[in-house]
């Protein structure tokens, strides 16, 4: 009798059923907006944040494209994570990212031709965006698909938020427009106001991002120890 051990449920190894949008999961999405922002806190993805932010419309498409790529690659790598040989894991990650980016480029060429022409090389450069591979290495390789998806969503949106904020100021002060529409009225120009050419250069994006980082760290002293 005593040998017939009743199979006891193994202690908590099987993850407890977690609601899809539990507090922890919600934090995966919300954290990258604040204390874990990929651009202002981790200082990743700076290159494209400088390059595509002269116009708001381009930044929106870029933010959407990057979010799509991070979400999909996170889910794909998370699904494959147990089977990927460690020696080639980064190559596999890169393959998945590159495949998705080329796909996005093709779709943009087919359905958003004008925007695709404007963004041209920068879509291709999503492949080298450190945030994408960073999330794969840091998160998707160790987490389940749904969590990885949320993590991708949060990081893509956190990246996009900064991109849009930077583009807002650069387009407004550099060209006097927003989304291509004239916002600075003509009489202001008549009074002697001129668009600020510096805002159109990448340096201006650097200053703006620096400003954001300054404000954020000023408000959240715990972040100053991070770097």
């Amino acid at each position: 009798m005593s040998t017939v051990a009743v199979e006891e449920p193994r202690p908590v190894v099987a993850e407890p059923k977690e609601p899809l949008l539990s507090k922890k999961n919600r934090r995966l999405v919300s954290d990258p907006f604040g204390d874990n922002n990929p651009i202002t806190v981790q200082v990743l993805g700076i290159c494209s944040a400088l390059a595509v932010t002269t116009q708001l419309a381009n930044s929106l498409v870029m933010a959407g494209s990057v979010t799509f790529v991070i979400c999909c690659s996170n889910v794909a790598i998370s699904l494959l994570r147990a089977t990927i040989p460690p020696r080639v894991r980064m190559i596999i990650q890169l393959l998945v990212i590159a495949g998705l980016v080329v796909f996005v480029d093709q779709v943009l060429q087919a359905f958003l031709y004008d925007v695709a022409q404007e963004l041209s090389v920068y879509v291709g450069l999503i492949i080298t965006n450190c945030i994408v591979m960073g999330r794969l290495e840091a998160f998707a390789m160790a987490n389940r698909p749904w969590k990885s998806f949320l993590d991708g969503l949060g990081n893509g949106a956190g990246y996009g938020l900064i991109l849009i904020a930077v583009a807002f100021f650069r387009e407004l002060f550099g060209s006097g427009t927003l989304l291509g529409f004239q916002v600075v009225p003509q009489f202001v120009y008549d009074l002697g106001y001129v668009d600020n050419g510096v805002m159109l250069t990448p340096a201006a994006a650097m200053f703006l991002i620096g400003g954001f980082i300054w404000v954020q760290r000023g408000l959240r002293p715990k972040l100053t120890d991070v770097s």
């Binding site: 080639v88 596999i92 796909f103 022409q117 159109l200």
Partner: protein
């Protein structure tokens, strides 16, 4: 630990899968992409001479007003080649005698205008334009620029209506009849009123606008030769 065989097979498998998916996506979207490119070209051609191009009547307008021709360097008609099939960028790299020169003749209300595609190099990559000339083949009726990778907000500003409008009414030939081309000046705010061969430039886009100047001089001196032999 994974065996070498597993690793190799795994990498191959992922590569092939990605390649197949992309090939499928590419071939299924190619039709749409080509149609987009064709539409963009028709819009650019019509924009050189029309203020408002109505996207809904684009194809009808284009068919009604534009006559497409392909000429050789001597101005003779080349049979069996449609301008759509001419890769202007590839032609740009050939010797003039071997090049094909597409000409789009816009005829409406009795007057003809000649629209030609021209190619050049900007700061980072190629720049190109559709240039419309009045029937005298001298006065610029309009121009629409495009570019591959000029800096957004700086060199890319050549593709804005504001910059393109500066070319209207400029002339290619001096009063004596010799080819004078059109020069884009460095920086903006230059006084060019009354000068038929100079155009105000763009601050921060000196290299790109220099490319525009070169493009005008090089390409139009070739087209002048084509026009001379052309059957009007």
């Amino acid at each position: 630990m994974y065996s070498n065989r597993y690793t190799l097979a795994y990498a191959t498998g992922v590569t092939v899968t990605v390649a197949v998916v992309l090939a499928l996506a590419s071939s299924s979207l190619r039709g749409l992409q080509a149609a987009n490119a064709r539409r963009a070209q028709q819009i650019a051609i019509l924009q050189t001479v029309m203020d408002d191009v109505n996207p809904e009547t684009l194809e009808a307008d284009y068919a009604a007003y534009v006559d497409e021709r392909v000429l050789d360097y001597a101005g003779l008609e080349v049979d069996g080649v449609a301008p759509v099939d001419v890769d202007v960028r590839a032609e740009f790299r050939k010797a003039p005698e071997e090049r094909l020169f597409p000409v789009f003749v816009y005829e409406r209300d009795g007057g003809a205008r000649f629209i030609v595609p021209i190619e050049g190099n900007g700061l980072w990559g190629g720049i190109n334009a559709f240039l419309a000339l009045d029937a005298d083949l001298d006065t610029i009726a309009g121009i629409v620029f495009d570019h591959e990778t000029e800096t957004p907000g700086l060199g890319a500003e050549i593709a804005t209506a504001e910059f393109q409008d500066r070319f209207r009414g400029k002339r290619l030939f001096a009063d004596g009849g010799e080819f004078a081309s059109v020069e884009v000046l460095k920086g903006s705010g230059n006084d060019v009123a009354g000068d038929p061969h100079r155009v105000d430039g763009l601050t921060g886009a000196t290299m790109t606008t220099r490319g525009v100047t070169d493009m005008f001089r090089d390409e139009l001196s070739l087209y002048n030769n084509v026009f001379e032999g052309m059957d009007p």
